[in-house]
């Protein structure tokens, strides 16, 4: 579990996060949603420890991040998996090397065992016949699968995804969302996803935090979104005609 209390972050004189407090539960897909520029990525990077906040605390399993020494932070980071928006695969390595990288880097596991474990996660994310391909030779959807495989190979306790389905077609986006949710439940990981994709919100949003101008304006589940009268989240979610219709249908069905 990750707890965030009164987190604030500013760049120059502008606050991009204002006293955000929340918690992310184990075994659930926790979503951070909001418009572009709402502070989602900064929030995620603060949780990851890539940005230091001005005030507030991030607590990993009852241990505050700010109180951890360099060794504890390194250990924590090896317990994290991250899927970046652009996948962030290493260009000079093929798919197999990319996935095996954390194991080669941080463990003394024998090369045959690393290969076996790599093949297990490759199968788990349904990557077929791609082991020896370079990132430039595979599609966007496959890159995301490689990034997910790399993120889970060390069996992390925390999985972070920054807009995991951006740039993907709707069908592939849903497949990637479902894959993340399945992995979260299977490995009992605390997953935090940063997104503004409404399909993801509806499909896998077991817990949702809505940010607007750096402030937390709403918190709940994907089912609660249909019933909320919070103006900020309603304006964001129901900005498209499609979702307005979905809301009406949902309201009718639940009368």
């Amino acid at each position: 579990m990750i707890e965030v209390t009164k987190l604030s972050k500013k760049f120059d004189d502008t606050y991009v996060l204002k006293e955000v407090s929340t918690y992310f539960e184990k075994g659930k897909t926790n979503l951070i949603i909001g418009q572009s520029g709402s502070g989602k990525t900064v929030f995620l990077k603060c949780i990851l420890g890539l940005f230091s906040p001005e005030s507030g605390e991030i607590i990993y399993n009852k241990t505050p991040l700010s109180k951890m020494n360099s060794k504890e932070r390194t250990k924590l980071r090896q317990d994290m998996g991250m899927v970046f928006q652009g996948s962030a695969l290493f260009d000079s390595m093929n798919v197999e090397e990319n996935i095996a990288f954390p194991m080669k880097m941080f463990t003394n596991t024998h090369i045959d065992e690393i290969r076996d474990r790599t093949n297990i996660v490759i199968k788990r994310v349904n990557l077929i016949n791609a082991n020896n391909k370079l990132p430039s030779e595979i599609s966007g959807g496959m890159k995301k699968r490689v990034a997910i495989a790399r993120a889970i190979i060390m069996h992390p306790n925390y999985l972070f995804c920054d807009e995991p389905n951006s740039g993907l077609d709707p069908n592939t986006a849903i497949i990637i969302d479902n894959l993340i949710q399945e992995i979260t439940q299977e490995y009992q990981i605390t997953t935090v996803i940063n997104t503004h994709d409404m399909n993801s919100v509806m499909e896998i949003g077991e817990k949702i935090i809505f940010l607007e101008s750096g402030e937390k304006k709403w918190e709940g589940t994907n089912k609660e979104i249909f019933n909320t009268d919070n103006k900020s989240i309603s304006n964001f979610v129901y900005s498209s005609e499609l979702f307005k219709k979905v809301r009406k249908i949902y309201a009718k069905e639940n009368k």
């Binding site: 890539l50 980071r77 090896q78 994290m80 991250m82 962030a88 290493f90 260009d91 954390p102 880097m105």
Partner: protein, 246 residues
């Protein structure tokens, strides 16, 4: 001025962080070998070509500008040797390398920054300074090897141009090469070559590592890196020459 001091401070902090928390040896070793291939072996062709032809031009220019019949012809070989050993091979090849190797280092690290590969390494708990910069520094310690080749080919180019072009005889050129040879000049050349190698590995890495923005900024960072690496080499050259030869 304050910004410049800030850059210098950050550069030295980067060097300090590069020597903290080392990457696993077998991973590091493979990275070093790859850097040797990219930075050293990959530069041999261009350095050889430039050295041979510039050596030839230096020798021809010296020969045709020595109109006074009282000047002995063996001075052509002497001037070629001194030019190649003292300045051309260590300093000017290093400035050419600032363009070739420096731009390569800045753009490769800069692209990793833009595509979040450096963030990915940091999230995993990798010391990115050590992982990305240290192998380049180690690879560049064998940079003097390139300079030896440059010296040899430059002098050979001068010999070839002079003898085949009829500017001096074989004997005159060889006499000039052996005239008044000071072994300390080689020490001086290799001391400054080593310092240039460190500049070539670290200043472009700094510009790539701390760049911000997108693809356009990677190009800009490469240009800035070339300018600052060249400036640092020229200043270091002046400093070392004053210190060791005067």
């Amino acid at each position: 001025m304050i910004k410049f001091i800030e850059h210098v401070g950050r550069y030295f902090i980067m060097l300090q962080k590069m020597l903290e928390k080392f990457t696993k040896f077998d991973v590091l070793w493979r990275l070093i070998l790859r850097e040797i291939d990219d930075l050293i072996i990959g530069s041999l062709g261009i350095v050889s070509l430039i050295s041979f032809f510039v050596g030839g031009v230096v020798a021809i220019q010296t020969a045709i500008n020595m109109e006074n019949p009282l000047l002995p012809r063996y001075l052509v070989g002497f001037a070629t040797r001194q030019t190649m050993i003292l300045e051309f091979a260590p300093t000017f090849i290093s400035i050419i390398m600032a363009g070739k190797v420096g731009s390569f280092i800045t753009s490769s690290i800069g692209t990793m920054r833009v595509t979040e590969q450096i963030d990915a390494l940091e999230v995993m708990g990798v010391n990115t300074y050590n992982y990305l910069i240290f192998p380049k520094v180690v690879a560049m310690t064998i940079y003097p090897f390139i300079i030896v080749i440059s010296m040899f080919l430059g002098i050979f180019g001068g010999y070839f141009a002079c003898v085949t072009g009829g500017f001096t005889t074989h004997t005159d050129f060889i006499d000039g090469l052996q005239l008044d040879f000071v072994p300390f000049h080689l020490n001086y050349a290799f001391i400054k070559t080593f310092l240039f190698a460190m500049i070539l590995a670290t200043i472009p890495s700094y510009h790539g590592f701390f760049m911000k923005g997108g693809a356009l900024e990677v190009g800009k960072a490469s240009t800035t890196s070339f300018v600052w690496t060249s400036v640092a080499i020229i200043i270091m050259n002046s400093f070392v020459t004053n210190l060791l030869l005067t």
